[in-house]
């Protein structure tokens, strides 16, 4: 009977944990990442995931000519500084926040529309508490209205 109870609790927790984690991730993205976009306007798209230490994520997006963009990539406190790179279709690295004190934001404008890749990584780091292996990482974009 006790085993059945444990199983029920475990299944219930497994069902609930991803939902609460996702909701927590959205709350984090909204409160911490979105504010970094100001004075740009958040485009409304939402990209966030739970990444474990050492894990990478990639985002593909077309950026349009003569449009000002701000990218904001942020990770939950306690995670190591999040690395992000902007890479073109020829695999040239156009920007790496590692060279800019792991800044969460980067402002840019393209003269010709391009499809670019944003590569995000939670680097391994010494001294990270063993029980903390992952956390929320969000990627958001801001745009400026042009008249």
């Amino acid at each position: 009977m006790k085993k059945v109870f444990q199983l029920t609790v475990a299944i219930a927790l497994l069902a609930i944990v991803p939902l609460s984690v996702n909701a927590q991730c959205k709350g984090f993205a909204k409160k911490m990442c979105k504010v970094e976009l100001y004075p740009y306007t958040h485009d409304g798209n939402y990209h966030a995931a739970i990444l474990t230490v050492g894990e990478e994520a990639e985002l593909y997006k077309t950026f349009y000519s003569d449009q000002d963009y701000r990218i904001s990539v942020c990770g939950a406190p306690g995670l190591p500084e999040i690395e992000f790179r902007i890479i073109d279709t020829d695999r040239n690295v156009l920007y790496s926040n590692k060279d800019n004190e792991y800044s969460w934001i980067w402002d840019f404008r393209l003269e010709a529309s391009q499809q670019l890749k944003i590569s995000v990584k939670v680097p391994t780091a010494d001294g990270l508490p063993e029980e903390i292996d992952g956390g929320c990482v969000a990627i958001m974009f801001g745009v400026n209205e042009k008249n």
Binding site: Q6, Y64, I132
Partner: protein, 308 residues
């Protein structure tokens, strides 16, 4: 930079929980001191599971949102024409998840377009239309009566309106993603993208020259996003609604394939004064007027299929 505290996700805890369920489900007899406790080695289990997790790279495909689409159309010199929006009276026709998701994207693009041109009453009507679609999809609280009231109170404040649109779109997409409905989230995005393409191509006059036409330039640029549309839908192709949209939208591929865009190598030019880095490059587009007309016609057919 301040970072507000958020509870981190102990992956090993989830792993332990998963293993616990598996052990219990398999009827494991592993007991300790006569009790039903399961003894697990956290180190061994954590290392193996984390290796598997780490080997999987997460991929996101991002389409221009309805707000960005509307901004791109406006900045290309478009004029406002309400005739090209999906009439709000059509909301009653949308009763399936497929049609409601497509038209949530479509109405959000129309709302963004109307708002950018300061069409206050139309903006409120389209926010209500988007709300009906979101309600129909069971998207809770993304657009509630407070949202409409806030929109009405700030109808002359463009920044607040943009923020409300962005917020509601984010809430809708995240709700669908969080509730294991990513296929519908993709359909919403594709609906919005097609609406933007439709509005832009409808605003081009048949006598307009292709060369140096900014609006046509924006439409041609969608060849780059079309590739992302296909990949995004392909991720959920097992969903019957996505599969049918994929079939419909694939009709555009043959036409986009007739357009060539050649881009030179990107030169990165930082501007220390403005802090905006310029990614300098040139692109050359090859497209005949006949191909553009073909694209216009196909977009028209596709969009009318989505709103009917």
């Amino acid at each position: 930079m301040s970072k507000k505290s958020i509870q981190l996700i102990p992956v090993k805890f989830t792993a332990l929980l998963l293993i616990a369920v598996l052990f219990a489900g398999c009827g494991s007899d592993k007991k300790k001191n006569g009790s039903d406790e399961i003894t697990l080695s956290e180190t061994e289990l954590g290392a193996g599971l984390l290796d598997d997790i780490n080997s999987a790279k997460q991929i996101f495909y991002s389409l221009p949102s309805p707000l960005e689409t509307a901004m791109l159309i406006k900045s290309a010199g478009a004029t406002y024409n309400e005739e090209f929006l999906n009439p709000v009276e059509n909301t009653a026709n949308y009763t399936t998840n497929r049609s409601m998701a497509l038209n949530l994207g479509i109405y959000t693009t129309d709302l963004s377009f109307a708002s950018l041109f300061d069409q206050t009453q139309t903006s409120i009507q389209y926010m209500n239309a988007a709300k009906q679609m979101a309600d129909g999809l069971g998207i809770l609280d993304a657009i509630d009566n407070n949202t409409i009231e806030r929109l009405e109170e700030n109808i002359n404040n463009r920044d607040v309106i943009m923020d409300i649109i962005s917020e509601t779109f984010m809430s809708s997409s995240s709700f669908l993603t969080e509730n294991e409905r990513p296929a519908l989230a993709s359909i919403v995005l594709v609906g919005g993208w097609v609406e933007g393409l439709y509005i832009a191509s409808s605003l081009v006059d048949e006598n307009d020259q292709i060369k140096d036409n900014k609006l046509i330039g924006r439409i041609v640029d969608q060849k780059l996003s079309f590739d992302i549309v296909l990949k995004l839908l392909d991720e959920s192709k097992d969903n019957t609604d996505v599969a049918s949209i994929l079939r419909d939208i694939n009709d555009l591929k043959t036409t986009f394939d007739k357009i060539t865009i050649k881009t030179s190598k990107i030169e990165v030019v930082p501007d220390e004064e403005s802090n905006v880095t310029i990614l300098r490059s040139k692109s050359k587009v090859n497209m005949t007027p006949a191909v553009f007309k073909e694209l216009q016609e196909k977009v028209n057919v596709l969009r009318n299929k989505f709103i009917s």
